[in-house]
């Protein structure tokens, strides 16, 4: 089955240029595709190969490469395999095409990515704020946003410094645990 799938997918994807194809296990396939060819690939997968279920769209912020990686995980109920289509788009201006016309669940994921990473999806039905309606900072999931620094700047903690902690610190600090007591 898995071998057939491989050949079959090879045939299917052969006519798309700029594509790398890698089988990770019998039910997981990784496809690397250029950003311009991705909608066509998904259309092929859905129309000709019964990959009707969009499991998720993940976004990864590769800040050093100045790129966002978008990963479309699609699942076929018939061949029982999952294709992860990876594509990369430049970080600036961070605009890409929506696949809402192919997969309706994309609306949620695209809205979420827009909110968390600031990637705009053209043609998506709803790009309004959803989770972060009361947040006016930068998109928080971008790597340059430092949550800890933000918290230190905006919140104050309870000053908790009880006597037993002071005593411990006088003794040199830290709690000692013998190696045999460490349990996972």
């Amino acid at each position: 089955m898995s071998k057939d799938l491989n050949i079959w997918l090879d045939d299917l994807l052969g006519d798309i240029e700029n594509i790398q194809f890698k089988r990770k296990s019998s039910r997981r396939v990784r496809v690397d595709v250029g950003s311009e060819a991705l909608p066509a690939l998904l259309e092929l997968l859905q129309g000709r190969a019964s990959y009707v279920h969009l499991s998720a769209i993940s976004c990864v912020d590769w800040i050093e490469d100045e790129e966002f990686e978008l990963v479309y995980h699609v699942w076929s109920y018939e061949t029982r395999s999952l294709v992860s289509a990876h594509t990369r788009i430049p970080r600036e201006p961070g605009v890409y095409l929506s696949i809402y016309d192919l997969y309706q669940p994309a609306a949620f994921f695209e809205r979420d990515i827009h909110e968390m990473f600031g990637v705009f999806f053209e043609g998506s039905p709803d790009m309004e704020k959803f989770i972060l309606t009361e947040w006016d900072g930068p998109p928080p999931m971008r790597k340059e946003f430092d949550s800890e620094a933000f918290v230190n700047q905006h919140f104050e903690w309870e000053q908790y410094h009880p006597q037993w902690l002071k005593d411990l610190e006088e003794e040199g600090g830290g709690v000692t645990t013998r190696p045999e007591d460490i349990r996972l």
Partner: protein
């Protein structure tokens, strides 16, 4: 705001009005909100409003060690936390190439099914309460508590066990645990007819739930519905069987389906799954003593553990539907990116908005509870 500024808003006379449904509302599961526009009793438009439970999990996980995140992940879905741990551990094992011992796999399956039982009891107890039948809720939550007792014995935690770690599980099964679990299953099985009589075959409930929030199989597939909600439309699909993980391919169980696709069908599927979970647990109890071996594979010092670079997409079947983790590692001691695909991110937002259209005010809560939507999965 001063009282003299309270002004009645002048509105054109109309039958239509807007109503905030949540976040502080007993018809909402968790902390979540709806804005609905009604014409009389009928919903014209509905719009979900999430983010009340947003903690920025995915961001937090990027700032913590691989092993620290184990404590973080179960918080993403409170009623059904174990699949979260397992799914995250599976992803790390796939990236790190860890070989999980056989015994650990069986213990994980046991835990997953216990968690499913608990979550389903909670879910239909909640649904019963929205229709005014509090007795079922009292019974369901109390019976769930007995499962939590077994969790406490096994893992030390009632709700959040933090028991699965990459490479296996934290502790072995205590002595006599399987016997106690077995007697608990006997008890639960003897309770099922009571639940049937009280709730699932209660004519008033059947009348209330039939046809509420109904969707066809095509719609369900188009909207990305998964789990029991998809099976209620007649599609026999279960990640446990069709994309097997752990040892589910060695277990014998059925996948219950219903054809109605409405609130009633979804509840009946959950009811049938209770039985299947008990069946799986019995098989585990039978097989587990004969499987010797370690309960986890050796992993490096977890506080200085660099998981090799790679990425993995793992899926498990939680009680709500398909749960998936996408984990990316760049070889550091912390994950580079973790993306959580909670099943409710579909059910609680798009599916609920669509099913609510044309429904009646008294059915919104039923639709939400019958979809078993879990808001923290949306908000993360």
């Amino acid at each position: 705001m001063r009282p003299e500024n309270y002004q009645a808003r002048s509105q054109p006379p109309s039958n239509e009005f807007e109503l905030n449904f949540g976040p502080n509302h007993p018809g909402i599961e968790g902390n979540y909100a709806f804005r609905v526009k009604l014409n009389g009793d009928q919903v014209l438009e509905a719009r979900a409003d999430a983010g009340y439970l947003h903690r920025g999990f995915e961001k937090l996980m990027e700032g913590r060690l691989w092993i620290q995140n184990i404590a973080l992940v179960p918080r993403i879905c409170v009623p059904d936390p174990v699949p979260m741990e397992v799914c995250y551990s599976l992803a790390i094992e796939e990236i790190g190439g860890l070989e999980v011992p056989e015994r650990a796999k069986w213990i994980r399956v046991m835990q997953l099914e216990m968690s499913r039982l608990a979550a389903h009891l909670f879910a239909f107890g909640g649904h019963a309460a929205t229709t005014g039948m509090y007795t079922t809720m009292f019974w369901g939550v109390a019976d769930r508590d007995l499962i939590l007792d077994r969790f406490e014995e096994l893992t030390g935690g009632r709700v959040y066990s933090i028991y699965n770690i990459p490479g296996g599980v934290r502790r072995d099964v205590p002595e006599g645990f399987l016997d106690r679990l077995s007697s608990l299953l006997d008890y639960l099985e003897s309770r099922l007819p009571d639940y049937d009589n009280l709730f699932f075959t209660n004519q008033v409930f059947v009348k209330r739930a039939r046809g509420v929030g109904a969707m066809t199989q095509e719609q369900a597939l188009k909207w990305g519905v998964t789990g029991p909600n998809l099976r209620a439309t007649g599609l026999e699909f279960d990640v446990r069987r069709d994309d097997p993980y752990l040892v589910y391919d060695q277990l014998d169980f059925e996948i219950p389906t219903e054809s109605g696709g409405d609130a009633l069908a979804r509840n009946l599927v959950r009811r049938a799954e209770l039985k299947q979970s008990i069946r799986i647990l019995r098989q585990v109890i039978e097989r587990l003593p004969s499987i010797e071996g370690p309960i986890r594979c050796p992993i490096p010092n977890p506080l200085a553990w660099n998981v090799p670079a790679g990425e993995a997409y793992t899926r498990v079947e939680s009680s709500k539907g398909e749960l998936a983790y996408y984990v990316v590692s760049t070889g550091g001691d912390k994950p580079y990116r973790v993306h959580v695909r909670g099943p409710s991110s579909m059910h609680a937002v798009q599916v609920l908005e669509k099913l609510a259209l044309g429904a009646r005010l008294e059915d919104i809560a039923q639709i939400m509870f019958s979809l078993d939507a879990c808001p923290p999965e949306v908000d993360r």
